[in-house]
């Protein structure tokens, strides 16, 4: 079970939205904002608090982001990437 939680995030200070991570960064998901539906959708695809991810490209720039997660590649739109809070791994 992940040690970082939504409440931790507020205190942690190293958290940022995935959309701000840079290409090549290794990050860990802290929390996922948004509606129940989109959170569920992301968790079905493997993104949960505690999930390790690597930013492949699009990091820091406006537009979609490609990440490696659980051995697969996902492409996330800017809206989604804004809502995934991460910290450096």
């Amino acid at each position: 079970m992940s040690s970082s939680t939504r409440t931790d995030c507020v205190r942690c200070g190293a958290c940022m939205p995935l959309s701000l991570a840079r290409s090549g960064d290794q990050v860990v998901c802290v929390s996922v904002e948004g509606s129940v539906g989109s959170r569920r959708h992301l968790s079905d695809l493997g993104i949960l608090p505690g999930t390790r991810m690597q930013v492949v490209s699009g990091g820091g720039q406006p537009g979609p982001v490609i990440i490696n997660v659980r051995g697969a590649k996902l492409m996330l739109g800017r809206g989604m990437a804004h809502r995934i809070m991460v910290r450096p791994d």
């Binding site: 992301l42 079905d44 695809l45 949960l48 492949v56 720039q61 979609p64 659980r70 697969a72 996902l74």
Partner: protein, 690 residues
């Protein structure tokens, strides 16, 4: 054992489920609908080791929650229909994520076999998977296979039949950690005590209740004795879990499932890091690069269209020659009269005029299939999203739009990948502007007849480009007016790069091309005959034809016929576009299927030419005084944009569930077509073009 074994085929989208289905059932398939919903139901038959198998291809899902129609359908089938065995198709190159669904089948405690598909791709990327160990860890048999090459299918069916015969349930019982397990046990006990009648096991229902599954909750509310206490216990359990774990119960449960999946993968899979596909990341970085991505995409699209038109040329000529010879033979053998006209002009002319383009269509579908199977399509969607975002379109809309270049009907169906209704509807409304394969014959005919060879290609390209531009423009208009709202958040899997297999491409292309040929044989044949009838009857009285030569007689006869009168009736509306009544007749015919525009033109003009000569239609058109390059271009623009074919209207109705949208699509596209053709013709005339 004479009853067929019922097999449910499940798995993630893109895991190769349909490939497995095709490999197992071959041509013995039947597609229908699940009652009451727009989700497709595919069933097929197979025989193996003397046993008859009934295989149902369930919708691809990532999970068995109640959030999408696909998941509900898949889940309901497994729970209520209780297939004898479930085959869970898992993508070996994406193992951890795929096993998330597998853990849920384990929760269901129904006989299951896992097809570990695409092991060739996994091996190529340096992953070595011990499938037997996986089977031990997860309690279900794992059968490695490469469905695209037909490998492993026999072993898969052997395992499935064995598991079905033994009614062998998964040897693993899902555990969720002490906190969660405690609550699952508690709710399970309450459900058992209430003696609730349900197809599903109480333990599974308990898990779903803790996950706040809406459908299970509703069912319990309505049918369980003491429902209030049970639900109160569930709610209190959920808050307890949230306090302890720090997150929603469903996240906690998902986390446990992934924990099991990743643990199993860690033990059973060796990943040779030195052979890791870092080249894939590097390639991706280039293909989706901010600067290079779009030009690379345009290059691929250009290559695709070049291939379709250049390579398609010679085969087209062969088919044309064949039908020309056929028409000539029929002409010489049959006695003069209506029957001969029906067969030569109506049937051979009509259907032949359309089948000529099968090589082109096939090449287009081959190109699309190559792009899809290799994995480039997903990267293209990424690149295209940046542009589409500006007109309010979702990057995923790109795939239906690309399919629309082949045929609009599957393109409308492809909008299902979009989650938000609004995005789906906008895409459905503009996808017909991606000029489909049926309209292509019209362009080729007209451009070939009225423009020099090296110009004709560019003319056709300009029509396609216009279609894309109009689509983007209309998307912007719709998103600013009728269909406002935020766009669906964009999440898309990027499949690993694969070498498209000959077999895989052949299957895709054959499906779609066969569909086109079948359409020619049935719908278009029907329309061709119908149009012939409308164009031949009523016949003018003999005195009207006196003193006229053959060509004039034919024209008068056509004017007198039912179709001719319809054309004449709308002629005033078409005059400002430079069209005459004969074009009007062809356009009316095009309401049914766009291919019929050509066959109607062929019939109308070959009949007007009379004498039974089978001349090249393009030469015939060139000779008509009312037609010129400018009129031809205006006509191409009109055909590009006006009403989607009947098949598209029907499928839009089915997908949106109301007549509003198909009616709107039919009307606004025709109005737009008229305006565009008007502009082209009149501005062109003013500029001095002929």
């Amino acid at each position: 054992m004479s009853r067929p074994i019922v097999i449910g085929l499940a798995g993630n989208p893109n895991a190769g489920k349909t490939t497995v289905f095709n490999a197992l059932t071959g041509a013995h398939q039947h597609v229908g609908n699940y009652p009451g919903v727009t989700v497709e139901k595919k069933e097929g038959i197979a025989t193996h080791a003397g046993r008859e198998l009934r295989i149902i291809d369930l919708p691809g899902t990532y999970s068995l929650t109640a959030y999408s129609m696909e998941e509900i359908v898949a889940r309901d089938f497994v729970v209520h229909e209780k297939p004898d065995v479930i085959i869970d198709v898992v993508d070996a190159s994406n193992l951890e994520r795929n096993l998330y669904l597998t853990t849920q089948f384990i929760e269901l405690q129904q006989p299951t076999v896992v097809a570990l598909n695409m092991i060739d791709v996994a091996e190529m990327s340096g992953k070595r998977i011990d499938h037997e160990l996986l089977g031990e860890l997860l309690g279900v048999p794992f059968v490695p296979c490469v469905a695209a090459r037909g490998q492993g299918m026999r072993e898969l069916l052997d395992a499935a039949i064995r598991v079905a015969d033994e009614n062998r349930k998964p040897a693993l019982h899902m555990r969720f950690g002490s906190e969660l397990d405690c609550h699952v046990d508690q709710i399970e006990a309450m459900l058992v005590a209430s003696e609730l009648q349900s197809d599903a096991a109480p333990r599974w229902l308990a898990i779903k209740l803790l996950e706040n599954d809406a459908r299970v909750r509703e069912m319990v509310e309505k049918q369980a004795a003491g429902a209030d206490e049970i639900l109160a216990a569930v709610d209190s359990a959920r808050s307890h879990i949230e306090r302890i774990v720090g997150d929603d119960a469903e996240v906690a449960i998902a986390d446990q499932r992934y924990g099991l999946a990743s643990g199993a993968v860690r033990q059973a899979m060796q990943h040779d890091q030195t052979r890791r596909i870092d080249w894939s990341d590097a390639v991706d970085r280039v293909l989706v690069d901010r600067v290079l991505g779009l030009p690379i995409f345009v290059l691929f699209m250009w290559l695709m269209f070049e291939m379709v038109f250049r390579l398609g040329g010679p085969p087209m000529e062969w088919v044309e020659a064949f039908f020309g010879a056929l028409a000539g033979y029929a002409s010489s053998v049959l006695p003069d009269g209506d029957l001969k006209s029906l067969i030569v002009d109506g049937i051979i002319g009509g259907v032949g005029g359309v089948l000529v383009f099968v090589p082109n269509i096939a090449l287009l579908f081959i190109a699309i299939s190559l792009l899809e199977d290799s994995g480039y399509m997903a990267r293209a969607a990424f690149v295209v999203d940046k542009v589409m975002h500006h007109v309010g379109l979702h990057g995923k809309s790109f795939i239906p739009m690309l399919i629309g270049f082949g045929c609009t009907v599957p393109a409308v169906l492809a909008t299902r990948t979009l989650d938000r209704e609004r995005d789906r509807i906008v895409t459905m409304m503009i996808v017909s502007f991606m000029s489909c394969g049926a309209r292509l014959p019209v362009y080729i005919l007209l451009a070939g007849a009225f423009f020099a060879p090296h110009v004709a290609g560019k003319v056709i390209f300009s029509v396609y480009a216009l279609g894309v531009a109009v689509a983007m423009f209309m998307a912007l208009v719709f998103r600013s007016t009728l269909l406002k709202g935020p766009t669906t958040p964009f999440v898309m899997e990027l499949p690993p790069y694969r070498m498209p297999t000959l077999r895989g491409v052949a299957i895709h292309v054959w499906e779609r091309a066969w569909h086109y040929i079948k359409k020619a044989g049935t719908v278009i044949l029907g329309f061709a005959i119908a149009m012939w009838v409308l164009m031949s009857y009523p016949k003018p009285p003999a005195d009207m034809l006196e003193g006229l030569d053959a060509a004039h007689q034919a024209t008068v006869a056509l004017e007198y016929s039912a179709a001719g009168r319809m054309g004449k009736a709308i002629e005033p509306a078409l005059r400002p576009l430079g069209f005459d009544w004969r074009i009007g007749v062809a356009l009316i015919a095009g309401f049914g299927a766009k291919e019929v525009v050509i066959s109607t033109l062929a019939t109308a003009y070959s009949m007007a030419e009379a004498g039974g000569e089978t001349e090249n239609l393009q030469a015939v058109l060139r000779r008509q005084p009312g037609l010129s390059p400018l009129v031809a271009y205006a006509l191409m623009v009109f055909v590009l944009m006006y009403v989607p074919c009947l098949g598209t209207i029907a499928v839009i109705y089915r997908e949106t569930g109301s007549w509003r949208w198909p009616a709107f699509a039919a009307t606004y596209t025709t109005v737009l077509a008229w305006i565009a053709a008007f502009i082209v013709y009149n501005v062109g005339s003013l500029l001095g073009y002929q």
